[in-house]
């Protein structure tokens, strides 16, 4: 786990230790130490919640920059469908596709096209007798990582078919090689334009198994601003058209993937807290009558990713109008079976967080201490100590990562008692700026 490469990171000089991110992190991965946020790499699932809420923009998503396409003789852009909904007054998706070529990409392969294939493959997969239901979508890497760290018995529910972005990358590379036989594998750069940091981590950690088909990952945000310039220059010229349909573009928002199964026995949820509740219920019961579960860590679905520009619901509205004149699902699989290379070679494995101690007796002793420390804490989860909850603080104390005097509530009580004992009322008066004013007024 120590070698896991995260996309979400902190620019320490911008951080003021304000505790906003602390309270919003779904895995309690953040602590404030010496006035700055610190992210625990073992616990972080790259959901990007902290990036979205940071008032000082101190959290960032690491990704590649547009100039990376110069590293390849032939580069192919893989735009996520969420990109299409970012723009004001966009007459058609074709203009964005042409804009990507104008930015220097040699070709564009829409992830939405591959999404339509995945929808078709999922329908086939659900018909199999040997499948453990409900099948959980493999598209959101934050959810897959959440399951791998917390739900050992749900790992095998995750659909083993590769997410659209991997299939798009595979097909884009095949297409490039077919159209340009002179190119070697190293000459071709497959560049994904991602709405979220989780997909960056997914690619950089090679989750897709033996072979990673994606060479670089850009943010929707960077590409959006670059596109604004090039698209303006060619505003009045006719543009290309999209190869995707309603189904593929629908994947950008919650329910799009599930609805494309043409089977009402599905559950689609978004927002990491809602997703955790669904997973908890599924972990204890079997959610009868549900064949497929689509979970999106971000509110609204991929359009809510931390590397997008526009509000997720505004994006959704724009996508609705962009796709209304498109065919339902123009991309169809070449075969009535699922090709072997579209299966994930590596299934999701259970990788739990570390226990308190490798030694059971020691872990028991520590747990007892944690409960005892907890009794002394105010239980208001204020976060001032640098831990998200009093319970997390108690754990940190017992693990030796912090000290009990970081609890500002308990320290204030101690301080008051100390002053009372010494009858130093004047110190308390000095803390009250109003009492000082009154004195000044009298003079």
């Amino acid at each position: 786990m120590a070698t896991y490469k995260h996309s979400v990171s902190l620019e320490a000089e911008k951080c003021r230790g304000c505790t906003t991110c602390l309270k919003r992190c779904p895995t309690e991965a953040i602590r404030i130490r010496d006035g700055r946020a610190v992210i625990n790499a073992e616990r972080c699932i790259d959901c990007g919640e902290c990036i979205k809420v940071c008032p000082y923009k101190a959290k960032k998503a690491t990704h590649d920059s547009l100039s990376c396409i110069k590293n390849y003789k032939y580069s192919v852009a893989l735009p996520a469908p969420s990109l299409y909904g970012q723009f004001e007054n966009m007459p058609g998706i074709g203009r964005i596709i042409r804009g990507l070529r104008d930015l220097g990409f040699d070709d564009v392969y829409e992830v939405a096209c591959a999404a339509e294939l995945v929808s078709a493959y999922t329908r086939l997969y659900l018909q199999r007798e040997d499948v453990k239901k409900p099948v959980i979508s493999s598209a959101c890497p934050t959810i897959s990582r959440m399951i791998s760290t917390n739900y050992p018995f749900l790992c095998e529910n995750i659909m083993p078919i590769l997410p659209p972005v991997d299939i798009a990358a595979y097909l884009a590379r095949e297409k490039a090689k077919e159209e340009h036989p002179e190119l070697s594998d190293e000459d071709i750069g497959i560049v994904f334009i991602s709405p979220c940091p989780a997909k960056v981590s997914y690619v950089k950690n090679g989750f897709a198994g033996n072979r990673n088909y994606i060479d670089a990952v850009l943010s929707v945000r960077d590409v959006y601003f670059a596109l604004l310039d090039v698209m303006k220059a060619r505003q009045d010229e006719p543009s290309e058209s999209t190869d995707a349909g309603i189904v593929g573009i629908g994947w950008a928002t919650t329910g799009g993937e599930a609805k494309a199964l043409f089977n009402e026995r599905y559950l689609a949820a978004d927002g990491i807290e809602n997703c955790i509740e669904v997973l908890e219920q599924l972990d204890n019961s079997d959610l009868e009558g549900i064949d497929f579960i689509e979970l999106n860590a971000c509110a609204g679905g991929c359009v809510g990713g931390a590397m997008t520009v526009a509000n997720p619901y505004v994006t959704q509205a724009k996508l609705q109008s962009l796709k209304q004149c498109l065919p339902v699902s123009p991309n169809r699989p070449a075969s009535p079976w699922i090709p072997d290379q579209f299966f994930n070679k590596k299934t999701v494995e259970y990788q739990p967080y570390s226990a308190l101690s490798d030694d059971k007796a020691e872990a028991m002793r520590m747990m007892g201490d944690i409960e005892a420390v907890m009794e002394t804490l105010p239980k208001i989860d204020c976060g001032s100590c640098g831990a998200p909850t009093c319970m997390a603080f108690a754990e940190d104390i017992v693990k030796g990562e912090t000290t009990a005097d970081e609890c500002t509530v308990n320290m204030r009580m101690l301080f008051h008692r100390y002053l009372e004992q010494r009858k130093e009322q004047s110190y308390l008066d000095r803390l009250n700026p109003l009492s000082k004013k009154e004195e000044d007024g009298k003079e």
Binding site: D283, S285, Y353, L356, D358, A363, M364, R365, G368, E371
Partner: protein, 143 residues
């Protein structure tokens, strides 16, 4: 022989009004057991047995209390309520038998699998019940 360590205890009040938070105590206990480094199989047994018990207390008894103790040999779950009591335990243990009201069934609960599942996932289960006074279910899961 090594002295048995002092058991760790967790106490929860299970709110009877709130269906959406039923199972909350089992989520916390699951996290605690994971921190102790117990196997996923053991944690699953505790989690399901507790979850079913919590739901039962919400459906039938307007809530109650859950007390869990962990020592180096076993995990003991005591679920106590001041509900109506169980008139016929034999009948209540039958799979599919339920006295849950229609409004609860429409929420997806009341399938008559609560007590049978609690028995299935625990190594030992004991029910003490008195009509009009309440029910206490004690479950043990050996480590």
């Amino acid at each position: 022989m090594k002295a048995m360590s002092e058991p760790i205890r967790f106490h929860f009040d299970v709110d009877g009004e709130d269906f959406s938070s039923a199972g909350g105590a089992s989520v916390i206990v699951k996290k605690k057991l994971r921190q102790l480094g117990l196997s996923p199989e053991i944690i699953r047994k505790v989690s399901i047995a507790m979850y079913e018990g919590e739901i039962n207390m919400v459906i039938h008894a307007n809530g109650g209390t859950a007390d869990i103790s962990v020592d180096d040999r076993e995990i003991t779950i005591v679920l106590a309520d001041r509900g109506p009591g169980i008139p016929d335990i034999g009948l209540a243990m039958q799979e599919g038998y339920s006295t849950a009201k229609e409004n609860i069934r429409t929420l997806g609960f009341g399938a008559g699998m609560g007590l049978p599942n609690m028995k299935k996932y625990s190594d030992e289960m004991q029910i003490e019940t008195e009509i009009g006074v309440g029910t206490t279910v004690t479950m043990k899961i050996r480590l």
